[in-house]
């Protein structure tokens, strides 16, 4: 994630390192997903150049553009961050003044840059003075966590922007921030540094919800980097099964640091669950599972099942992986039978896959199965690759043995 305050006025270089001006403005399409289409930079004589984003090789610290860039004009549906968004008054649907746009945040998704939302908090103001981090640190000493207010693009009416108004879609008191699941999805598409940065902006309760929705790589990275106090606060707010899973993925030292900061009762229950994890899922694991790639069609999937699963003892689910062999979805056989043969599987697969890890205690695995009514859970490693599944019957046998 990148803030406008961090790139405005930055030097613009051509790809062979010649300084050609400094960044003045960004141009975007005022639509549901606001893509950055052009940049405007000024040369030494303050002459304006509008250049398509296609020529921009890099925006971060400094801006680098291709040598053969062409100057273009603005289209009718294009708006300027500087003129149409920044510093503008935000009003809610009732016409009440809420606040002004203090900063604008951008996000790289795939090849393009998009406006992610607007910063409406006090920290957004201090960022222009380069004081944001100093201030956060200062307040942290006094045990106050500064959390800026952030409005998602989804809450803004793009049509009103063109009319010179930043109007929200809701009343101020009904204004909700992003849904945790959406934000988690979104964070998984960004790099870890910006994911951590966004999470720091949220209040703890919301951050906890978002973290529960992240995959384990992100979860453990986040807890490796947060201060133990913050980590403990978040762990306290996260659902306990999920919390144990996360804690087990951390180093021993880190784990103890966080555990020591947890409230007494919480720590006891977490320790209890960790004790269970000595009997890990590893022994129950079976490699009898099938994966298909996300753009393969129903016909191809059925063909693959016929070919590969003849001697399977149990088959309920088909797992979907991407090019990096990471688990991205799942569907059951019933769902598969309902589809037309030429439909690609990503169209109907469930994206929110319930997963476990090698370190997950059996008790937690069975709880998840019961909670989500699933007969088999995929087990993944740190790279999000599938290493096997655990079936409900194996798991119940194990639990029965333990209690008899």
């Amino acid at each position: 994630m990148l803030y406008f305050s961090e790139i405005k006025g930055r030097k613009v270089y051509s790809e062979d390192g010649i300084e050609i001006g400094f960044l003045d403005d960004l141009i975007f399409l005022a639509i549901e997903k606001p893509k950055i289409t052009k940049i405007i930079f000024l040369d030494k004589n303050k002459k304006k150049y509008t250049v398509s984003i296609d020529y921009v090789n890099k925006i971060n610290g400094s801006v680098i553009i291709s040598k053969n860039y062409l100057v273009t004009e603005l289209q009718d549906n294009e708006l300027s961050v500087l003129k149409n968004l920044l510093d503008k008054q935000i009003i809610d649907i009732g016409g009440n003044k809420i606040v002004r746009v203090n900063d604008v945040a951008f996000q790289k998704e795939g090849e393009g840059w998009y406006i992610y939302g607007v910063d409406v908090g006090f920290l957004g103001i201090t960022r222009w003075f380069g004081l944001e981090n100093t201030l956060i640190k200062l307040f942290r000493v006094a045990n106050v966590n500064l959390t800026p207010r952030f409005l998602s693009w989804a809450d803004i009416q793009p049509l009103e922007l063109a009319r010179g108004k930043v109007k929200l879609k809701k009343e101020e008191d009904k204004l909700e921030r992003l849904r945790p699941e959406d934000l988690a999805d979104h964070l998984e598409q960004t790099n870890l540094v910006s994911a951590r940065r966004i999470l720091r902006l949220l209040d703890d309760k919301f951050a906890a919800e978002v973290i529960s929705n992240l995959n384990i790589n992100y979860q453990s990275d986040i807890f490796r980097h947060f201060r133990p106090e913050k980590a403990a606060q978040l762990i306290d707010l996260i659902d306990i099964d999920e919390a144990v899973d996360i804690i087990l993925s951390l180093s021993k030292k880190r784990r103890e640091d966080i555990l020591n900061l947890l409230p007494e009762t919480k720590r006891k229950s977490v320790l209890h669950l960790i004790g269970l994890s000595k009997t890990t899922i590893g022994g129950l694991l079976t490699t009898e599972f099938i994966t298909v790639s996300s753009n393969c069609t129903v016909a191809e999937a059925i063909g693959k099942i016929k070919k590969e699963t003849e001697d399977f003892y149990f088959l309920n689910y088909v797992y979907v992986v991407n090019n990096d062999n990471q688990l991205v979805g799942v569907f059951n056989l019933h769902k598969l039978l309902l589809q037309n043969l030429d439909v690609p599987v990503y169209k109907f697969m469930t994206q929110n896959v319930i997963i476990i890890h090698l370190t997950t205690p059996g008790e937690i695995a069975i709880k998840k199965m019961l909670k989500y009514k699933i007969q088999a859970l995929p087990v993944i490693n740190e790279q999000k690759n599938m290493i096997g599944i655990v079936n409900v019957d194996d798991l119940t046998k194990y639990i029965l043995k333990k209690f008899s």
Binding site: K88, Q89, R100, I125, F129
Partner: protein, 413 residues
């Protein structure tokens, strides 16, 4: 003839409906600190300083008119315009300086209030507390209508200076002559300083911000512009009408009998032997009235400016819940200023000094903005400055800028 009277009555009705903000702003420029300045100037330089007042009236009228016109045409406050046109960094800087300067001015108004309470033999702390409570209650509980009525009542109470001046039995012919024609001016360093002080207490950064915000908060439409402009000129005249009597009251007593003043509030006591008990009482009463009005209006200015710069709901008509920050800033300023005045170790002299320096820094910036905006066709449409008017506006601004730079530079020497 009948038609004419009907027409005139109709116009008067509109004028009365529009009447308020510009006059209130202008008259509140004669706040407690203002009264003190005029009293000192009158006591020291007699009628000769009246000519400066004559010039200042024009400057005040022109500068306030620009503010009112911008407010009605753009429907935005000065803070809104600075933020939207010049960005966040400048906005934060301007607001910060305005905040400090306003707090300083409020402190000097509380100091004037404190000195006057002492003079009347009233217990200072309880009466200051009452003043704070009064200010907070009328602003947070009353809507725009109520506040405007209270302010207009305060304006009427300025007539106490007129009575004071009459009681002093001044040389009216000399006074009027000195007003229009420079008479008996002895150009000295002190006289120049006093002139700049008179200018500086009348034309202030907060005055420019306030007239803007207050006209906006009245929610007048642009077709009433003519009437509001007329009111602005009227208000400037009215303000200096009062200033005239303040100066006359001290000039005809203290200057004539060559009695030096160390502070402006002392004037209420000092004129008693010459103008009588009633005149002294009315003079003191006038200071309380002026200081209270100054406290409320300057604190409101900061609150309005904050709401404009940072986009929060800021209107006297907004309920407390919606305008929490607006009312919060107001209350904070009043309470903080009152506490500062009660602290024994705070040097009022230093505060006045810093305030003047801050104002001297802000005024040139504000007039730069005002001229830029009033000449911007995209913003002002047909209401841009006319060529001749622009000359007046530029000359006025230059005079004000030079004198404020003078204060700024001299405060660092």
């Amino acid at each position: 003839m009948k038609e004419f009277i009907k027409q005139a009555r109709y116009r008067l009705m509109i004028f009365l409906a529009v009447f308020g903000p510009a006059t209130i702003t202008a008259v509140s420029d004669d706040d407690g600190a203002g009264v003190a300045t005029y009293s000192l100037a009158g006591a020291k330089f007699g009628y000769s300083i009246l000519f400066i007042l004559f010039v200042v009236t024009f400057l005040l009228a022109i500068t306030q008119e620009m503010g009112v016109r911008i407010a009605l045409v753009t429907r935005k406050g000065l803070g809104d315009l600075i933020r939207e046109r010049y960005g966040i960094i400048l906005s934060v800087v301007v607001f910060f300086i305005l905040f400090i300067a306003n707090l300083g001015t409020i402190v000097s108004n509380f100091a004037a209030l404190k000195a006057t309470f002492q003079m009347f033999g009233l217990p200072v702390a309880p009466f200051l507390f009452l003043s704070v409570a009064f200010s907070i209650i009328i602003v947070s509980k009353g809507n725009y209508e109520v506040n405007q009525k209270i302010f207009l009542l305060a304006v009427v109470l300025y007539f106490s200076y007129v009575i004071s001046a009459f009681k002093a039995k001044p040389d009216w012919s000399l006074a009027f002559k000195s007003l229009v024609v420079p008479t008996g001016i002895k150009l000295s360093k002190e006289f120049i300083f006093a002139s700049i002080a008179v200018l500086g207490t009348t034309i202030t950064p907060w005055g420019q911000f306030f007239v803007h915000s207050f006209v906006l908060d009245k929610k007048l439409s642009v077709d009433k512009l003519k009437f509001t402009q007329f009111e602005t000129y009227f208000g400037a005249l009215f303000t200096d009408f009062f200033s005239f009597f303040m100066i006359v009251a001290t000039a005809s007593t203290l200057f004539v009998h060559n009695i030096p003043l160390t502070s402006g509030e002392q004037a209420a006591l000092a004129i008693k032997p010459f103008a009588g008990e009633l005149a002294g009482f009315l003079f003191g009463f006038g200071i309380i009235n002026a200081a209270l009005m100054g406290i409320i209006i300057i604190s409101l200015t900061t609150a309005y400016a904050f709401a404009e710069f940072f986009g929060y709901e800021g209107s006297l008509d907004a309920p407390f819940q919606k305008g929490r920050l607006f009312y919060g800033i107001f209350i904070f300023q009043v309470v903080a200023a009152a506490l500062i005045v009660l602290l024994p170790f705070v040097s009022l002299f230093k505060i006045v000094f810093i305030t003047q320096a801050m104002n001297g820094f802000l005024l040139p910036l504000i007039f730069f903005f005002l001229l830029k905006i009033t000449n911007n066709k995209d913003l002002m449409g047909q209401h841009v400055n006319s060529k001749i008017y622009n000359y007046f506006a530029i000359i006025s601004s230059v005079i004000i800028i030079i004198s404020s730079l003078f204060v700024l530079i001299s405060s660092f020497l």
